[in-house]
């Protein structure tokens, strides 16, 4: 039996090795994907944290508050500011955005200082009244401060645009609060608020320390490579469907299967040999992609991949993920009647499984029903297991809870494949 199994493994390996397109799909495409996606995510990270977002500001206001607002926006730290002439109209602003490759432009209205001053006096007056002091009754309420106008390039992602709005809101709040504080202080003390006191009152001393949650208490923050390399490794593993599913279909349609059925060996041995050969392929895929993450990424300016401490755990997760991918491929191959069916269904189903499994959009971003559906995607459990190791630096024992559903799904695929083989009188 061992000789039969070994012969089948050798045969499957030879057939695979000569399938240039299949190899390209299994290795080249995922490698390109992991590099491109990591680069894009890293660029987004750098755009916000290092390179800064280019912003054009047209300050039509001639007073102090407009200048203070520009200064406050600058202090946020996420923008690279260029000021435009005060009289620039909106059409010229749009042209400037295109010409200077800016994603955002902000227009501070001409009456900004006047409105801020008026609002601060009104607010200070209300405060004095509430303290039981006499307020300036001559001040008219001019209404709310005129809105800033923010123009943005539609390519700016929603999440990033909301972050920008939040930052601008903080800057605006600072300008208004400063003016209200100054007015209030002057009304009470009849002298200007000292700069030092103003600084102490307005500048927050509270510090936010952001710490990644990890299983072993390490404080190393994850980078784009830690997120992307496991995701696209899983994607690559499931892409063996193009070669393996195709191999099963080819065996059924080429007549090889008829011959195999007239030999004194069960086709299940053939299925077992395919699983061994292709699980080895998935392990090689993982080794290649992880190696690229560790050694190539830093060379091409991307953050390097840090392997988890539990290498044995990583091996187990990789083998189980590969086994699940291989089982799925065999399952589809058994039911597909033609190559076209296998390839079309295989490719589309993998994209869908990866989308609902959280490879493309994190599952925490999904609504409740999609989160429930995600549990049925094997890729979700592969990803959770890898994240447990890569992002939380956990051990195998920390991800067992994710591996159990993965094994169950794999067994279901195996049972469906055997049922399909029996139904088609293939075993």
């Amino acid at each position: 039996m061992m000789f039969k199994l070994w012969s089948a493994i050798v045969k499957d390996s030879r057939v695979l090795w000569r399938d240039g397109v299949g190899l390209a799909l299994m290795f080249v495409m995922p490698i390109v994907l992991v590099i491109v996606i990591t680069d894009i995510q890293n660029s987004t990270f750098n755009l916000i944290n290092k390179n800064k977002l280019p912003v054009l500001i047209c300050n039509r206001d001639t007073g102090a508050s407009g200048m203070q607002l520009v200064e406050a926006i600058n202090k946020v730290g996420m923008f690279s500011i260029r000021q435009l002439p005060k009289n620039q109209d909106e059409k010229a602003l749009s042209d400037s955005m295109k010409k200077r490759d800016a994603l955002l432009s902000i227009v501070i209205p001409a009456d900004f200082t006047r409105k801020v001053m008026a609002k601060s006096k009104t607010t200070a007056g209300k405060a004095l009244t509430s303290f039981g002091l006499q307020a300036d009754s001559t001040q008219k309420d001019l209404g709310d401060v005129s809105p800033l106008k923010m123009f943005y390039n539609p390519v700016l992602q929603e999440s990033l645009r909301l972050s920008v709005k939040g930052a601008l809101q903080s800057a605006l709040q600072l300008v208004e609060s400063r003016q209200t504080l100054r007015t209030l202080y002057f009304d009470i003390n009849e002298k200007p608020l000292p700069g030092k006191l103003e600084g102490e009152m307005l500048n927050s001393k509270a510090v936010i320390n952001d710490t990644p949650v990890s299983s072993n208490g390490s404080l190393k923050p994850p980078n784009a490579a830690q997120h992307n390399v496991p995701s696209w490794t899983i994607f690559a593993m499931f892409f063996v469907i193009m070669s393996l599913g195709g191999s099963v279909v080819r065996e059924k349609t080429s007549g090889s299967y008829i011959r195999l059925k007239t030999l004194p060996t069960s086709y299940l041995v053939g299925m077992f040999s395919k699983q061994i050969a292709y699980v080895v392929v998935t392990i090689v895929q993982a080794i290649v992609i992880f190696s690229l993450g560790i050694w190539l990424f830093p060379v091409i300016g991307l953050p390097g991949l840090n392997l988890p401490q539990d290498i044995f755990g990583l091996f187990v997760v990789t083998v189980l993920s590969g086994w699940c991918a291989v089982s799925y491929a065999i399952c589809v191959g058994v039911f597909a009647e033609t190559h076209q069916q296998n390839n079309a269904f295989g490719a589309i189903s993998i994209v869908i499984l990866s989308a609902i499994g959280g490879l493309m959009v994190p599952t925490f971003n999904m609504d409740t029903s999609l989160k429930t559906i995600a549990n049925f995607s094997p890729m979700h459990w592969c990803l959770q297991s890898y994240y447990g190791l890569f992002l939380e630096d956990g051990k195998l024992s920390n991800v067992i809870g994710y591996l159990i559903p993965l094994i169950l799904i794999t067994i279901v695929f195996q049972l469906i494949a055997v049922w399909g083989l029996k139904r088609k009188n293939l075993i």
Binding site: K4, K11, Y257, R259, K261, T262, L263, P264, T265
Partner: protein, 253 residues
């Protein structure tokens, strides 16, 4: 039991129909092939030749009756029957990405041979069938005739007691046809029972000593070729074939 059984194939009261009742139907079909015979099964398209061969090899299961090869029931003793049976399908049933040697190594192992036996038989077959100089070349680069020889080599690698051949020479040149027929005659001399089907009736006269004509799922004639020609007063198998099955077109859908 199989060594003492004089019948290589014993089909008794066979019943069969396809699931959708489309295609040939067998009802109470009986047929025997003696051990050591060179048996030819002939008939027009759609007569039931390939279906009967598929039932004999266990690829299809009968609805009734029994099929025994050397005394073993094809469906109950499937594993034991497969050790005695060699099958050369009409289609090229091997891995075209592999070389003849690689195909023979794999199919030989699955036929139950040891590593040593596989190697010896591979060398012998490649030599006999004229494939020695292309032993390591990919089969998908071969001509139709060369592929036919690879197809045959795989079917006989385990020295089967019964060899079933479904149109083994279709689409080959005269030289390859002669080589294949000569090789099959040699195998028969060494004790292999041949069960053969083809539309090449002149070739069948060279190869077979016993023939059966099947039409619409029924055996319409069965006996030695000389006996059949004499009984029906015909000069060759083709004339006999036309007399018994008519001249109308047959559409096998």
């Amino acid at each position: 039991m199989e060594l003492n059984n004089p019948l290589a194939v014993d089909i008794s009261n066979l019943g069969f129909h396809y699931k959708d009742n489309d295609g040939v139907v067998f009802s109470g079909l009986n047929l025997q092939v003696q051990k050591g015979e060179r048996f030819g099964l002939f008939g027009p398209n759609g007569a039931g030749k390939t279906t009967l061969l598929s039932l004999t090899t266990g690829l299809l299961s009968p609805a009734g009756g029994s099929i025994r090869l050397l005394g073993l029931d094809v469906n109950r003793d499937h594993h034991a029957v497969n050790k005695l049976l060699g099958f050369v399908p009409q289609d090229f049933s091997f891995y075209q990405e592999l070389s003849p040697v690689e195909n023979l190594e794999f199919f030989g192992a699955w036929a139950g041979l040891s590593k040593h036996q596989v190697k010896n038989k591979t060398d012998e077959l490649l030599q006999v069938l004229g494939l020695e100089n292309v032993r390591n070349k990919r089969v998908d680069k071969f001509s139709g005739g060369m592929k036919r020889r690879v197809n045959l080599a795989i079917g006989v690698i385990h020295d089967p007691a019964i060899l079933i051949l479904d149109e083994p020479t279709v689409g080959v040149d005269v030289q390859t046809r002669h080589a294949i027929v000569d090789y099959l005659l040699q195998l028969n001399k060494n004790g292999t029972t041949l069960i053969y089907t083809s539309h090449q009736l002149s070739e069948a006269e060279d190869l077979c000593n016993v023939a059966a004509l099947i039409d619409d799922g029924k055996i319409v004639a069965h006996g030695s070729i000389e006996q059949l020609l004499e009984e029906h007063k015909q000069e060759d198998l083709e004339q006999l074939f036309l007399e018994l099955t008519g001249k109308e077109f047959r559409n096998d859908v």
